[in-house]
Symmetry: none
Subunit: 405 residues, 2 copies
């Protein structure tokens, strides 16, 4: 019988109640009986991390540091305990593991730490002894022994990092959706399941607001050549495989329409002429951990204009940086809220000119004004009014031949 080691990550909704934890344990029990050796990575029970973040924000919404990470990492610890107990009850020997026990070493960028190294000795010893490791996702330990966290969705990255560390060829991500869809079905009812997606496409989608997979987990899959199988916790069937581009025979021009419902755009005018202003601005934003998404700059008779967008999560921080910085510079600031970002993604764009033209035509035909635009080799994004989001998504989905037959 084949004894295959498979890293399996179960997300928050998959372990969201005692009943679901029992169902996960039952499935893992069957995996073991079928000859697999699972390495299990779990997220916090759904809602738990949000509860912990809300507690932290009541104390200090601006704090970032080891106390915050230690606090929000506690949710995974609960899931590890419960999943481990549910498997032990079924006669499976387990070892609950927090990051410090396993040696998941990260840098010290709290709340957004990156894994630097995983000691595999302990993991290998457990596997050799037939003991199932139950690992807390999302967390690491830095060189000062502080608990760190990997950012929202970080349990995916824990799973991929473990798979890479033990040289596994694939990693299973169990979630509450059966697959990656060509668009969010709540927005585009004709959205369909995607069977195969390249690492590059999935990375673009993750960076554009798709919450299906943590972007660093996809980067890790690409870098270490670990195929990612995203599938449903609640159904026994295949979902979406995220694999090297070369393994996908028939490549669609556009594989998905992705959106981020809430984004914020800052408009600044007039930008001071000295060249240091922009570097000062973006350095200070970066120092606070704000990820600036789209940046556009334009020259008018009255002076230089700058606009840039940030995510909802980073908005309060960005606002505080600007408030500290701007008074010295005598420029006006305008904030556009109630705007969304809509994107199309597809590796096929590389070989098909005219995607951008079609993208803008579709928006124009629907009288949708574009505030900001950015493109990469395999995606086009536009910031539009929130009110136009649904119509834009549906129109683009149809225009790029993604509607379900």
């Amino acid at each position: 019988m084949e004894r295959r080691v498979v890293v399996k990550k179960y997300g928050g909704t998959s372990v969201g109640s005692i009943e679901r934890i029992e169902a996960v344990a039952e499935r893992l029990f069957n995996d073991c009986k079928a000859g697999q050796i699972p390495i299990v990575v779990v997220s916090a029970m759904s809602g738990e991390t949000n509860r912990l973040i809300a507690l932290a924000q009541q104390v200090d919404p601006l704090y970032r540091g080891p106390a915050y990470d230690l606090l929000i990492a506690s949710g995974e610890q609960v899931s590890v305990g419960l999943v481990s107990m549910a498997l032990e009850k079924r006669g499976i020997k387990t070892q609950p593991l927090l990051a410090f026990q396993l040696g998941i070493e990260t840098d010290s960028v709290y709340s957004k730490a990156r894994i630097k190294n995983i000691r595999t000795k302990e993991l290998q010893r457990l596997i050799d002894q037939g003991i199932v490791p139950i690992v807390a996702g999302f967390q690491g330990v830095d060189e000062f022994s502080n608990v760190t966290t990997l950012g929202r969705g970080g349990s995916d990255t824990t799973a991929l990092a473990l798979a890479a560390a033990i040289h596994a060829s694939e990693c299973e991500i169990y979630t509450d959706v059966p697959a990656v869809f060509s668009a969010d079905p709540r927005l585009v009812p004709k959205a369909r399941e995607i069977q195969k997606l390249s690492f590059d496409e999935m990375m673009e989608m993750a960076s554009l607001g798709s919450k299906v997979l943590h972007i660093r987990s996809v980067e890790m899959g690409a870098k270490y050549n670990v195929r990612i199988h995203l599938r449903s916790t609640f159904e026994i069937r295949e979902g979406t495989w995220i694999i090297p581009e070369g393994e996908i025979m028939e490549q669609a021009v556009v594989s998905s329409v992705t959106h981020d419902p809430v984004t914020y755009v800052f408009k600044l005018f007039p930008i001071p002429p000295e060249t240091s202003f922009l570097s000062r601005l973006f350095t200070q934003l970066a120092d606070k951990g704000v990820v600036v998404d789209i940046i556009t700059q334009s020259q008018s008779e009255a002076g230089q204009r700058l606009a840039f967008s940030v995510t909802q999560e980073d908005y309060p921080l960005a606002e505080s940086v600007l408030q500290a910085l701007l008074p010295k510079d005598k420029l006006t600031k305008e904030v556009m809220s109630k705007v969304s970002k809509i994107s199309v993604v597809g590796v096929g764009m590389r070989n098909h000119p005219g995607v951008a033209a079609r993208f803008f035509s579709v928006l124009a035909e629907n009288n949708i004004q574009v505030h900001l635009v950015t493109t990469s080799e395999i995606k086009i994004s536009a910031v539009i009014d929130e009110a136009n989001l649904t119509i834009a998504a549906q129109a683009l989905h149809q225009a790029f031949d993604l509607d379900r037959n």
Copy 2:
């Protein structure tokens, strides 16, 4: 300015909400300004450990092992994060610390682990740098790097162990009562606060059902000569000092009336004549972790009678042991429920004969029947009917001159 290092433990109700955590942080901030160097130990927010235990019991009520301890230890982690953030907000540098970071090493008796060693190097380094350590109570790490827990109330023991490890002369236990009382004020309205209590008295009280302090913390205070200051989180005033007996000048004969409202008495008759029966019975109870409290044996014409009491918590286990054991031995079993234990405690008893006489006189004057009795050098306990508990407590409290003036 005196820079005194003081270990301060804040219990579950003291950190039971964000408002209370802010109040704790404010008080610690003032302690720092007044020149103290606090080492802070925190419990889980009130209700949190019970919530976690309930989750675990839904999966498997009988499981004991590392997964359970890892799970229920997560509550303290949340408190550590929040208290640390609330202090950082006030400009105090802190270091959140879990057991693995601090090196609180325990044995592997999960759920009831004992501290074997604390590495003080890290603690000393922080103190020297003026950084306030915020330590998770209740938890430790065993030789396999598994998280362990110290039993209910274990955060007290964490605090005393830290104080002992750094050779502190005192340790502050902040709680939701202002002091140890001469009796439970709900039972005896005239109960008064005790200013000074010896370690021996507090240990007796803890073992007799007083929930004010974890008994092992008091043992540790006595062993390492760390004076314990039990005081209110919500008031700025002194509470009760638990100190070496020699430091208490005027010793009352009896310092408190303590009770355990619910106890269970098993009566067995006739006890088989072979001498092995009692050892077999008590060995099996001990093997299941049942703590037998009072034991009495008496000889009548009809044969030997045995009676012993157990706590409410241990009663179901004791019952199951007896049910497995008794059928072989052809004796009858009677269980007295609805009984309580009432005790008087005081180191002064050592030098004052006649305390037992007065104790029984008071009960007799009030027509209170005594079912079982036990004494030690500094306490007398009696099992009486639950219905008589209040009148017994009040009468004893008055008879031993404990009523508030």
